[in-house]
């Protein structure tokens, strides 16, 4: 049995390790982990065979793991192939260090370098040691779920899209199987069950031995297993359904594991670029990210890392990059030509960039648009459409590289007279998700009303964001998570930083039919010496790029620049209405006098960094943020509260309706029965009904006030018991007796007429007062507001339903054994 548990523990670990698959490029790690689990299980078995204490058990597992790793990864340096020598251990340590570095360098999925494979094997092996110790040795199987969960949480944390259902299901099933076999063993220790609930089994005579042919029954726990299965199914159902039912808990957030995880191993994914943007912007130490020299006499352009071309309704991301080796950039190979750039004047710029060593995980190169040639060591690739330069395994940290780029200088006239967009650009870059609310569509057309050309629309938009839209640059605004945050930014709060501005403008441009995308990277930074620039982490920036045929992708700058905005942001000349003399219609867009001054003022001032540090300090505007969060519309809350009140009122209302209905049928209203004859007839028609009604009413009252009501009590027994529980005065006691006697006569006597309905109704009222008088205040209020008697009916209905369900499940549970019996008979 110990062997069985050991095997189950190993299987559970392996099944849990399946969840790691999105982390690696190839599948070889699994076999490394498999070997580690085998070794650990062997060590555990040996330890238990030797009956060493539990702590030594742990040691045995660790030693087995070490031996295994040593054998696989350092056998050439070990004594006698497998005994670890100092040399081999040192080698293992080096391997581990390499693996650690590699793991930090690459984004998942990482290539399966020996170091990484060893780390994976060691990690899986450690989990196996813990699971083995907890589940098999210490018999704390439930606790063994923690190491398994830790293993599962690695891919869940690293991969933004989480782990697929399959991997999760495999891990969970492995753990469940481990739990089950442990429970089975424990239950089996109590011997076999004699009877099940549904079907008494034959009890073998004492001392009866199974014949030679008959199989010996293992400890039979099927009845318990059946209830275990029921509980498990119930728990899973609750876990799946409850978050969906609780407002505020997004089931997508809880179960968003699926996605397209695990597809092509060469798909490039990084942690959300926009998340890192916010992080960089709010860093306390405004550290230097990179420095560069630019040959551009007109001052450098923006350095772009990413081009986010896809708006999924919530945020901007880039489409998965299908990377292949032909995309590699080499020193002498020219990059693809920038799309759409044909008319605008172009000059070539050479930029020499040095990225600081401290910068980690910069897998996309900051390059000025549009790069035409990149010289850098390592495996760097280019995305032909967006000209993003990225690496699958290298980071730009500490590297220097040279970029030759083509800087377009379109004039406003060229942009205004741009021709029609190519079809592929339109289809790819103007897609707007369906869930973008209508207000934004309306807003976009309102803001740009009267503009004919795409350029004038874009200029209007930028103008609206920077000048007359009433927006405030606020770095403390929360990073937008959902489409609704964007709506809130545009329509209500109007507070945000470059991310919101860029995202909103790109979205509105798409709504207007202008192809757009969001670019992310750095502003030019500060020029420390002529031609030498330094970029700090707070120069991180996002901006929209709009497509104009003939000029290609053109940068716009909706984010306020200068002291009250992104310090080093520069609005390009063509986007300024003041200097744009393009179409005649644009002149009517009256340029405000101060529209250019902040931008100009801050553009090339070396001290800009100092300026914006003050403004964007993390202590910035906490109150504003609070106000924003507190300003959530109260309507849903009010509606919710109203709903809760209504729901709470339901039992009370039901009770009142029930009471009224009971009597209404019996006591004729004076208006409806004018003559005394009719009245007596109505009464005489159903005296038993009146007694029953009084009785039921009193029963409901008793239940409401928390008195026990036994179904096995006859009327007189119930009245006697109530009389003992209550401290009744003489009138109350008489009323109680009368009601009970009326009910008794109505039920059991032949032709005896009980009390008239009016009398009984008065009696019921008297007794109810006695009930109320003899319970506490809480019970009294509960009787009024949440009368339990209304629940009795519901509960009874539920109980029969539950019984039926139990019946069905019991039958289902018996199915396997019945089938087994049938087979055995054959």
């Amino acid at each position: 049995m110990r062997l069985r548990m050991t095997v189950m523990a190993g299987m559970a670990t392996l099944a849990g390790s399946l969840g790691l698959y999105p982390l690696f490029e190839k599948a070889g790690w699994f076999w490394a982990g498999f070997g580690a689990v085998l070794a650990v299980a062997g060590g555990g078995l040996l330890a238990r065979r030797l009956r060493v204490p539990a702590l030594l058990d742990l040691l045995f597992g660790l030693v087995a793991l070490l031996l295994y790793l040593n054998l696989v990864y350092a056998s050439d340096r070990a004594w006698l192939v497998f005994i670890p020598s100092p040399d081999s251990v040192h080698h293992l340590g080096e391997l581990a260090g390499d693996g650690w570095q590699a793991a930090n360098r690459y984004a998942a999925p990482v290539p399966l370098l020996p170091g990484i494979a060893m780390l994976a094997a060691a990690g899986i092996g450690l989990v196996a040691v813990l699971v083995d110790l907890l589940a098999v040795r210490m018999r704390r199987t439930a606790l063994a779920g923690l190491p398994l969960l830790a293993m599962y949480s690695v891919p869940a944390a690293v991969r933004e899209d989480g782990v697929g259902w399959f991997a999760f299901g495999a891990g969970a099933l492995g753990f469940l199987a481990l739990l089950m076999s442990d429970a089975r063993e424990q239950v089996g220790g109590w011997g076999r069950t004699v009877t099940t609930r549904r079907r008494p089994r034959e009890v073998p005579m004492a001392g009866a031995r199974p014949g030679p042919g008959e199989p010996v029954d293992p400890p039979d726990a099927s009845a318990l297993a059946a209830s275990g299965r029921r509980i498990a199914a119930g728990a899973v159902a609750v876990a799946v359904l409850l978050p969906a039912a609780v407002p505020g808990l997004q089931p997508r957030g809880v179960f968003g594991l699926g996605g397209g995880s695990g597809q092509g191993t060469q798909t490039v994914t990084t942690p959300d670029p926009l998340v890192s943007l916010k992080r960089e912007l709010t860093r306390l130490d405004d550290s230097v990210v990179l420095s560069y020299t630019s040959s551009d006499p007109e001052g450098s352009g923006y350095l772009r890392l990413y081009a986010l071309d896809r708006f999924d309704g919530d945020r901007w991301t880039y489409s998965p990059l299908k990377s292949s080796s032909k995309d590699r950039v080499t020193g002498d190979r020219k990059l693809p030509a920038p799309p759409g750039l044909s008319v605008a004047p172009v000059h070539e710029v050479t930029t020499k960039v040095h990225v600081r060593r401290e910068v980690r995980n910069m897998t996309f190169l900051p390059v000025p648009y549009a790069p035409s040639k990149v010289s850098i060591k390592g495996d760097w690739r280019v995305h032909p459409d967006s000209l993003m330069v990225y690496s699958l395994r290298d980071s730009a940290g500490g590297r220097s590289f040279t970029v030759k780029s083509l800087r377009a200088k379109p004039t406003a006239g060229q942009l205004a007279s741009a021709g029609a967009y190519p079809a592929d650009i339109v289809s790819h870059y103007t897609a707007v998700p369906k869930n973008v609310p209508q207000q934004i569509w309306k807003l976009a057309s309102d803001v740009t009303s009267g503009s004919a050309t795409a350029l004038s629309q874009a200029v209007r938009l930028q103008q609206w964001f920077t000048v007359n839209g009433g927006f405030t640059y606020d770095l403390s605004a929360p990073a937008p998570q959902h489409g609704s945050d964007l709506v809130d930014f545009l329509l209500h709060s109007k507070r945000g930083y470059c991310e919101q501005y860029a995202a909103a403008m790109a979205l509105m441009a798409r709504i207007l039919g202008i192809p757009s995308r969001v670019a992310m990277g750095y502003t030019p930074g500060s020029e420390v010496k002529p031609g030498e620039w330094v970029v700090h982490s707070r120069d991180a920036h996002a901006w929209p790029e709009l497509y104009f045929e003939g000029s290609g992708w053109v940068r716009f700058e909706p984010t306020p620049a200068g002291a009250a905005g992104q310090g080093t942001a520069v609005a390009p000349g063509y986007s300024q209405p003041a200097v744009s003399n393009g179409g005649g219609q644009e002149n009517e867009a009256a340029p405000s006098p101060d529209s250019t001054s902040p931008a100009d003022g801050a553009t090339e001032s070396p001290g800009a960094g100092a300026h914006h540090r003050n403004d964007e300090g993390p202590g910035g505007d906490a109150t504003a943020q609070d106000a924003d969060q507190g300003g959530v519309s109260p309507v849903p809350w009010l509606a919710g509260a109203l709903l809760v009140l209504l729901l709470m009122g339901v039992p009370m209302a039901l009770r009142m309706v029930a009471r009224r209905r009971r009597w209404a049928a019996l006591i004729p209203r004076p208006s409806s029965s004018p003559g005394p004859a009719a009245r007596t007839r109505a009464q005489a028609s159903d005296p038993a009904g009146a007694a029953h009604a009084a009785w039921r009413e009193m029963r409901a009252d008793a239940l409401d006030h928390g008195f026990d009501w036994r179904a096995s009590d006859s009327p007189r027994a119930a009245a006697r018991r109530l009389g003992e529980l209550l401290e009744l005065d003489a009138a109350g006691a008489r009323a109680l007796t009368r009601i009970a006697r009326a009910e008794e006569l109505a039920r059991y006597s032949r032709g005896r007429v009980p009390e008239p309905a009016e009398r009984l109704r008065a009696d019921v009222r008297t007794v109810r007062e006695s009930f109320a008088a003899s319970v506490g205040r809480r019970a009294r209020w509960r009787a009024r507001l949440l009368p339990p008697s209304t629940m009795a009916q519901t509960r009874a209905a539920l109980r029969t339903a539950a019984d039926r369900v139990l019946d069905v499940t019991a039958r289902v549970n018996e199915l396997p054994s019945r089938l087994r019996l049938r087979f055995r008979r054959r």
């Binding site: 038993a688 036994r710 096995s712 009327p715 007189r716 039920r747 059991y748 032949r750 005896r752």
Partner: protein, 353 residues
């Protein structure tokens, strides 16, 4: 023919005037009709008199006396089971003596024969024919003392009479005159020298009651009264056999509503399904239960039966017919407890919603 050789003579009062073969049960006289005419009031009057008389002998046991009276009015037979010396025989004799009717007492012993109960045909030399000598069973009230000391053969002779209210000897059937009631006493079956009654025979007794020890006050009073003379000697009949027949007639006309009948059936069938019982109660038990409930209600001066009657009677009427399973026996669960639990759990049928 010496029937009464063992112990006391089984004839304690005068034998009834005559027992003729095939005498029908139709001979109702005026007094009987009178009592029937009075209905419940008359019944209560007579019943109270009998009760008072018995209670003057059996002190501090009103419930037991009431049960005994119930069985009498329900045309049933009573089994009194208890340890020796608590007044079983006294109760039987007191009940018998407070009614002016024929009473016979049979002391059951291991060598008692069936013919000692039913009677024999003896050859009359003068008339040169066989003549039937009725046994002690030909009486209105038969007190069978220590019935479980006789052999099963003899027990069954009595039990046949109990169920069919007739005796068949040598092919001739003799109908017993109503009221006919057997009051048997028995010692607990665990005691030495006893043949436990088979289930089939226990089933014929309407109710089994146990006397229980008297409380100290009642015992003290008993010492006082028994000091001088047996109180039984002072007891004089307070009712005629005809009165009792009238009462029985009233009881038969008691109304038992559908709900109560349903309740009785529910209760009895619950014993058949109960996991702790190997043998449940028979349909005869249902009959006895409802019949006893009628009498019980009548004694309570009611002309209809309520479930409370059934509940009160469930243990004495049902418990002695049930056999617990081996597991229940190991757990020392007595059928009495099982029935009491059932009564506590079984819902009383209530009309509609």
């Amino acid at each position: 023919m010496a029937v009464g050789t063992h112990g006391e003579s089984f004839m304690e009062t005068d034998p009834p005037a005559s027992h003729s073969a095939r005498r029908g049960g139709g001979g109702h006289d005026g007094a009987e009709r009178d009592a029937a005419g009075h209905g419940l009031d008359g019944l209560a009057q007579v019943a109270n008199k009998i009760r008072d008389a018995v209670e003057s002998v059996i002190e501090g046991k009103p419930a037991v006396v009431r049960l005994a009276l119930t069985v009498l009015l329900a045309e049933g037979h009573l089994l009194i089971e208890d340890v020796p010396g608590v007044g079983k025989t006294m109760l039987a004799k007191a009940l018998a003596r407070s009614i002016d009717c024929s009473v016979r007492r049979v002391q059951f012993t291991p060598d008692l024969l069936p013919s000692d109960i039913t009677g024999v045909s003896a050859y009359n030399q003068e008339l040169r024919e066989f003549e039937f000598k009725p046994g002690p069973v030909f009486a209105n009230i038969v007190v069978g003392d220590e019935i479980n000391r006789a052999s099963p053969k003899t027990q069954s002779a009595l039990l046949e009479c109990m169920e069919e209210r007739q005796v068949t000897v040598d092919g001739t059937t003799y109908v017993l005159e109503p009221p006919f009631m057997v009051i048997s006493t028995q010692n607990p079956v665990e005691m030495e020298g006893t043949y436990p009654l088979p289930e089939a025979q226990r089933d014929r007794f309407t109710a089994r009651i146990s006397m229980g020890y008297p409380d100290p006050a009642a015992e003290m009073e008993m010492l006082d009264t028994h000091g001088e003379a047996s109180p039984l000697d002072r007891l004089t009949p307070v009712a005629h056999a005809a009165d009792v027949r009238g009462l029985i007639d009233v009881v038969r006309r008691q109304h038992v509503s559908q709900a109560v009948r349903q309740y009785a059936i529910d209760l009895v069938s619950a014993t058949r399904r109960h996991p702790e019982l190997r043998l449940g109660a028979s349909p005869r038990a249902t009959l006895h239960l409802v019949r006893a409930a009628r009498a019980y209600a009548a004694l309570d001066d009611r002309d209809y039966v309520v479930p409370d009657d059934v509940q009160d009677l469930a243990v004495p009427v049902l418990a002695h017919r049930l056999l617990p399973t081996a597991e229940a026996q190991v757990e020392r669960r007595r059928p009495e407890q099982v029935v009491a639990d059932l009564v506590k759990r079984l819902p009383v049928p209530s009309p509609g919603r």
